[in-house]
C-alpha cells in the first residue's frame, strides 16, 4: 500500500499502519528452534551436531556455528511448533542449549 492511497494521514502514522498491514497474524507465523552460545561446547562439536542431526552441509553447519559463536544465538530451523520442540529436545540430547520461539517475536 502506498502513501498516496491514504491522503491526509501524516507520514509517520501512515508508515505505522503500513507495517501493521504487512504483518501476518501471530498464528500464521512459523516457529523457530534457536541454538544459544555457551563457553563449553567445542566449535567442532557444534558443527558436527548440526551436520549429523539436521543433515546440513559442512558449510551451512559452520556458518550457523559461527553465528551462534559471534551473535550469541542462531535460528537453526523453522516450521511447526511440535517439530521445533523435537529439534530442541534433540539439541538438548547433544548438550546444546536450544529454545523454541515464534518467528519475528
Amino acid at each position: 500500500m502506498s502513501a498516496a492511497t491514504l491522503p491526509g494521514i501524516r507520514e509517520d502514522q501512515d508508515l505505522h499502519e503500513d507495517r501493521e498491514l504487512r504483518e501476518s497474524p501471530e498464528s500464521d507465523r512459523p516457529w523457530q528452534t534457536v541454538v544459544w552460545n555457551d563457553p563449553v561446547n567445542l566449535m567442532s562439536y557444534v558443527v558436527r551436531v548440526l551436520r549429523e542431526y539436521f543433515g546440513y552441509s559442512k558449510e551451512v553447519a559452520t556458518r550457523l556455528m559461527l553465528a551462534v559463536h559471534h551473535d550469541g544465538h542462531a535460528v537453526v530451523a523453522e516450521g511447526p511448533r511440535e517439530q521445533m520442540e523435537l529439534h530442541a529436545q534433540a539439541m538438548h540430547d547433544y548438550g546444546l542449549w536450544a529454545t523454541v520461539r515464534r518467528a519475528g517475536a
Binding site: P39, A88, T99
Partner: protein, 164 residues
C-alpha cells in the same frame, strides 16, 4: 556422511580408569536427579535446560515431557561408554598405566561417546563456574580433566571426519 566410519581410539589404561570413574560419578548424578520435577543441581539443569525463555508454563510442560527421556538417554550413553572401556582400577604400576587399549567405535557407539564427553564437560564446567572460554586455573586439577575431555572429544570428531 561423517558418522559412517568406525573410529579406533587409543587410550592409556590410566586415562581409561579415570574416565570410567568420571562416567560412574556422572551416572550417580543422573540417578539422584531423576526423581525431581526440576533438578536442584545446576549441572543437571544444564542437561535439561528450559526450551522457552519467555513462557514459564510452556517451559514446564516441555520439561515434563522430555526431561526423564533425556536423562535416560544420558544414562544409556554412559553405560555404553563404560561397556567399551577396559575393566580395571586406576593402575598403580607405572608400566601398566601407560599401556594403551584400542577401543573400536562404530557409528552408534561413537555418538554415545561424543554425547557423554560433551555432557561430562557441561557438568564439570558448571562445577568449576566456567563463564567464558578463557576461564582456567592452573591450581585446580579439575581444569586439567575438563581440557583433557575437550582434547579427546575433538580428536574423536576429527577422526570421524576422516581428518586423521
Amino acid at each position: 556422511m561423517s558418522g559412517e566410519r568406525t573410529v579406533v581410539m587409543e587410550i592409556t589404561l590410566l586415562e581409561a580408569a579415570h574416565l570410567a570413574d568420571l562416567v560412574r560419578q556422572f551416572r550417580d548424578l543422573i540417578h539422584d536427579a531423576e526423581s525431581a520435577a526440576v533438578p536442584a543441581d545446576p549441572a543437571v539443569r544444564r542437561l535439561v535446560p528450559d526450551a522457552y525463555t519467555d513462557d514459564p508454563e510452556a517451559a514446564r510442560q516441555f520439561r515434563e515431557l522430555t526431561s526423564s527421556e533425556l536423562l535416560d538417554r544420558r544414562d544409556q550413553d554412559a553405560q555404553s561408554v563404560l561397556a567399551d572401556l577396559p575393566d580395571g582400577a586406576v593402575p598403580t604400576d607405572p608400566d601398566a598405566a601407560v599401556r594403551t587399549a584400542s577401543i573400536r567405535l562404530p557409528p552408534d557407539r561413537l555418538e554415545a561417546w561424543l554425547r557423554t564427553f560433551a555432557a561430562l564437560r557441561l557438568v564439570l564446567a558448571s562445577r568449576l563456574g566456567i563463564r567464558s572460554e578463557a576461564d582456567h586455573d592452573d591450581d585446580d586439577p579439575r581444569f586439567g580433566i575438563y581440557e583433557w575431555l575437550g582434547y579427546r572429544l575433538d580428536g574423536l570428531i576429527q577422526a570421524a571426519d576422516g581428518a586423521f
